[in-house]
Amino acid sequence: MFSHYIDLSWRSFKRTPLVSLLMVIAIGVGIGITMTSLSVYHMMSMDPIPEKSDKLFAVQLQSMDEGESWWSPDSMPYQLTYRDTENLLNADLPFKRAALMKTGFSVHLNSDKVKPFLEQTRVASRDAFDMFNLSFINGGVWSKEQESSAAPVAVISQSISKKLFGTSNSVGETFYLDDLSVRVVGVIEDWKLHIKYFDLNNGSFNKPEHIFIPFSLIKANEIDTWGNTNGWKHEPVKVFNDKLQSEKFWLQFWVELNNASEKRVFEAYLENYIAEEKKAGRFTREKAEYKLRDVNQWISYWEVVNEDNKIMVALSFMFLAVCLANILGLLLAKFLRRAPEVGVRRALGASKKQVFFQHIVEVGMLGLFGGVIGIIVAQVGLFGIRQSLSYYDALANMDISMLMTAPLIAISACIIAGLYPAWLVCNTTPATYLKTQ
């Protein structure tokens, strides 16, 4: 009977093409707007590294004096000092660790072949590539020796490699970061991320960097941050070393802990570390405070998806509800106009249930067509968002789950809107129409 109902629905569309088209457009626009905001919300709230998001932990240390507060939800500083970062990185622990800092340079070849350009650069310790699942196309990460000796080497992305050298395989080539000549040791696939979870300090949805240099270069070459530097007490910084020794927060630190016992070991290490630093006059608070947050906890802690985004999604659903209210009116008119035919069908043996189901299939089909139109409208909407702000490049996209969701929402919404008209028409007394038709 289901295929028969589909056939009847199609005939019904052809019988009233204008009203049907109007309903499909209404649901299409409603779904399009809803899916646009829902897609952005979905991308914003999606786990950026699902295969290991519960194993990567952002480290926070409470190194401020008693009584000092921070603007984070639990008053813990978001970043670490250089001293703590270096100490945690060099600690004799069996865990992968990533010390990170955002910086930037004028990138050039010291020739007229390529126009110099400003490029953000990520200072990173060598474990970062493995921890954050970065894939090498050519070469690999710098060696431990290169890291410890602050060798001027770099890993670059495929797109930067092509931009500078016209090839994906630029291992061995040299280029300049300001005046520093660096040699390419590895080329990675472009890091595509919709949330820059590893460093949420300067915009959650900014694009990841394309150039990576060893962490040890910070000290060796006095490379300062292009991100935030936050202090909580007066500390004169006259030379770069003052900043390195200061209590200012300007670096990010991540650790990979594969199970609860590894986490316990690392927590014990942190407690010991804080205790040792306390002896040296730092970490003056009575109780050692630190936090390990996995990727999703970190994103939530930073409120990457804020109330505004949620309100936007809610508003788009309200718009969909308005569209559905209009569709409900049109469906009522359409179905009740068909009451005489329903009377005949009832007289010929159709039960109320069969009549009801026939009409529900029809509104379901309306929803399906509306869903398809909705996907097109949403694609146009997302394209508009991407064009308006490159910040949304990675976010304003519809992934496969959203593509599947669109018709499902459309069909469900239409069925909800069609319940009352279908119920009304299946409850009409057939005898009323048989004489008058």
Binding site: R15, L348, K352, T436, Q437
Partner: protein, 234 residues
């Protein structure tokens, strides 16, 4: 086969109560052809609708093939209607979007009959009413008489034991009316029980049994032919 005991039907508005049927008693035996006559508004169509389970009755008892219709729910009534009753309406009531084949197919689909069996029955019924060659035509491409024959084919397709006809010739000219009447007589001879509401006295006289409805009650009847023991009325 069809037995109505003290059936009443009352329509109620805020101000007025109207008794469409009251103390209506009728016993119909298998194979009968009954013409129901009476003035307009007397309750003929209401009787037919109740007989066809298209509307509920207010009081009394209605047994169809021994089944107490008053105790059935909507789905059971729909099933019973689909299996035992065929309808023929004055206005034909063919579904305009469906061609003749599909119109005849409607009751068979609701009965869940398989496609091959549906095809056999539809072709047979359209053949019986002389419209097999027009199976792919839409109703509006036919004359009134032809449309009514399609409606009859549709009613016959389900192989009903009862045919309820509400002024089947009301919209037809006399020639076509006669043809439709002859078709109904043939169907009756083939074994179906027919109850036909009509205003046409000449057609009514052709039915073996006549009953008259006045003010919602069986007023009188004349038995033209058939078994004199067929009881009508209380």
């Amino acid at each position: 086969m069809l037995k109505m005991n003290n059936i009443s039907k009352m329509y109620q508005t805020e101000m007025v109560q109207t008794h469409a049927l009251r103390d209506f008693n009728l016993n119909v035996e298998e194979g009968e052809f009954i013409a129901v006559t009476g003035p307009s508004g007397s309750g003929k169509t209401t009787f037919l609708n109740i007989a066809g389970m298209l509307e509920p009755f207010t009081g009394g008892e209605y047994l169809l093939d021994g089944i107490d219709v008053g105790k059935l729910n909507d789905n059971q009534r729909a099933d019973l209607r689909n299996q035992k009753i065929g309808f023929i309406f004055q206005g034909f009531n063919l579904i305009p979007d469906l061609n003749l084949y599909e119109n005849v197919e409607v009751p068979l689909r609701y009965r869940g009959i398989k496609a091959a069996e549906r095809k056999r029955r539809i072709e047979q019924c359209l053949e019986q009413v002389g419209l097999a060659s027009r199976a792919k035509h839409l109703p509006q491409q036919l004359s009134g008489g032809q449309q009514q024959r399609v409606a009859i084919a549709r009613a016959l397709a389900g192989e009903p034991r009862f045919l309820l006809a509400d002024e089947p010739t009301g919209n037809l000219d006399s020639l076509m009316a006669r043809q439709v009447m002859e078709l109904l007589e043939q169907i009756n001879r083939d074994g179906a029980t027919i109850i036909m509401v009509t205003h046409d006295a000449e057609l009514a006289r052709r039915a073996p049994r006549n009953i008259q409805v006045v003010d919602g009650q069986l007023a009188d009847f004349t038995l033209y032919q058939g078994n004199p023991n067929m009881a009508v009325g209380a």
